[in-house]
């Protein structure tokens, strides 16, 4: 129940109720984006954002930089392991 799925916000459908269309792997669904908007990041700025969707609500933006840094660390680990096993 506590799982979520990543999707991309493609359209704002109701700015007052903070509703948007999110594309999840080609399936489009209306979700509530109240948890991810604030004065610095109003609804209209959310288009193109990748978010985690849980029970019809976008719960957080996916931080691309943090994801890339984690993957870079894991890639370095894989490279080191490959070197060890080839040595």
């Amino acid at each position: 129940m506590c799982l979520g799925i990543p999707g991309k916000i493609t359209e704002i459908t109701d700015i007052n109720h903070k509703l948007a269309i999110v594309d999840v792997g080609g399936v489009k669904r209306q979700v509530n984006i109240a948890c991810i908007v604030n004065e610095q990041h109003p609804p209209e700025a959310c288009i193109g954002d990748w978010v985690l969707v849980h029970v019809g609500f976008a719960m957080n933006r996916i931080n691309e930089q943090q994801a890339k840094e984690t993957l870079k660390l894991l890639q370095e680990l894989a490279t080191i392991q490959a070197e060890i096993s080839n040595a």
Binding site: M1, L3, I36, H54, T70, L74
Partner: protein, 383 residues
Amino acid sequence: MKYVDEFREPEKAEALRGEIANLSQQLEKPIKIMEVCGGHTHAIFKYGIEEILPANIELIHGPGCPVCIMPRGRLDDAIAISQNPNVILATFGDTMRVPGSKTSLLQARATGADIRMVYSPLDSLQIAKNHPDKQIVFFALGFETTAPSTALTILQAAAENINNFSMFCNHVLVIPALQALLDNPDLQLDGFVGPGHVSMVIGTDPYEFIAQQYHKPIVVSGFEPLDILQSIWMLLQQLVEHRCEVENQYNRLVEKTGNQVAIAAINQVFAVRESFEWRGLNEIPNSGLKIRPEYAQFDAENKFTIPNLKVADHKACQCGEILKGVLKPWQCKVFGTACTPETPIGTCMVSSEGACAAYYKYGRFSTTLPNKIVEQSKVTISS
């Protein structure tokens, strides 16, 4: 999909497996790590993670599945509400087959109750708008991940003045449950894989007491196979170096202080109950949420007569011991015989996030090697 496939790459998993094997040799004793969240339990079985871990690392499957910990009495209460001919009860699909003391919601529906499965609590608000002559009750449950969405649904109902909508609130809190586990002398745990999506809401700060007061490490983890392997690797590093810290593997979604909008919505609508009953863990102080008096018109416990009975678990069911990690599912007397996903006796067999359902579905159990899984030896990390 964004950052799903990238966290399933086999060569990186192999590198992590090697690192975990190296670190495990430096452990002074066999260790037990609890993954608190049912979502992690499901992923661990789906990707065969448990079977590629060294023999001196044991995973204990914790009580973090909101369906599994729902006491039978609360289920009976939900069914009692649904028996009112004027009521449409709406809930998430996970709850439909959970056994109450006599029937499940699915069985209650088969005998005439109007019970509907919804994807989002907002869908139940739409049902209320479509049926102004009925009372719509949303059977709300879940940890802090789900609580903001139900809180925001009540706020929307208030804003739109929807009078035929209420909520039967059964939300629970992860921190008091962790405290209860840490205080349980039966459970000797060496560290925790912390829940990813609960932490997305509450942040990592609330776990500091685990490191500081109980001197156990915890790593908040994502749900892809590399996320879980990396979290176990990070925990092992802490244990080998005799560190006890709160670390965050899932930093692409989890921040130290959580999501302030979500926390504010929870605090505005809900108050903490003095005590709440958990299946298998009994009453835990300050572990549940109730609707604040300001929103009493949306509180089903205020609107309907509810039996509110305490109902003991089925005698044959050992979900309690399994939720505490004291027993493995296959050690339960009725596992796989009287209790299967088609005819569950206990909740752990109902939800896909339950430990019994995961063991049953993926066929990974052994009566000869209680500590390790033998039926499948090859890890499958591909999506």
